[in-house]
Amino acid sequence: MLRAFGLGVTLFAFWLALSGHYTPMLLGFGVGSCALVVYLSHRMGVIDEEGVPLHTTLRMLAYLPWLLKEILVANIVVAKVILSPDMQISPRMVSFRGSQRSDLGRAIYANSITLTPGTITTGVSGNDFEIHALRAADLETGEEQAMDVRCSRVEGN
């Protein structure tokens, strides 16, 4: 119930931010469409920890700046590789073990890996992550471990 309410409030805040028209009629349409979406989500049974992960919001916001920094650093590394005349690459498929306890946490970790250039998640089964790495040497810096720990932290209890 609380989650459904949270979803409604979030949707309406989103609607307010995008609309820019605040006449009573249009606000009414906004409230109506948000209520309809909440009702449909409820009927579909997607209002749960995974579909509406509001409990992770603050931890997610704390995680984003670190992720953006990682993306920037990895981008510069890959840019250097691409621009170097001899292009020193050694692509590998490697396996990683994640420490996440929920599918949501695993999805966050898998997407974070893919977002940082140089590594792409190609498959997830259980807690095993199949990764395609552009340069095998870059994997030994411990960045993936740090990311794993941080993603588990976002997931919470």
């Binding site: 931010a17 995008l18 820019g20 920037l72 690459i89 050694s90 898998a110 997407n111 977002l115 140089g118």
Partner: protein, 116 residues
Amino acid sequence: MIDLVLEVASWISIVAGLFFMLVGTIGVLRLPDVYTRLHAAGMTDTMGAGFLILGMMLQTIEGILHGQDTWWFVLVRLVLIYLFILFTSPIATHALARAGLAGGVEPWTAPTDGDA
């Protein structure tokens, strides 16, 4: 003064975005197979689009400081656009890589890599 700072920062950011877009494109052309090319393509939508949007945000902030009140909406939308890119682009990349594996495309390995 603040105008000048915002203007310069915004253009530095836009040029950086264009740089990453260009390098990503060069990467797509230079790298040997579909998986390695995905790494280069990932650069264009994380940092390429990221710096371009940051540059546009700085321009928007400059506009707001000059009394363009409705530009707040533009600012919010730019932030949301980047958030949606962050959520959707890795899924597209992942789907492409999986499609390659499902289609039986062998990942390219460097000829000098004996132990691969």
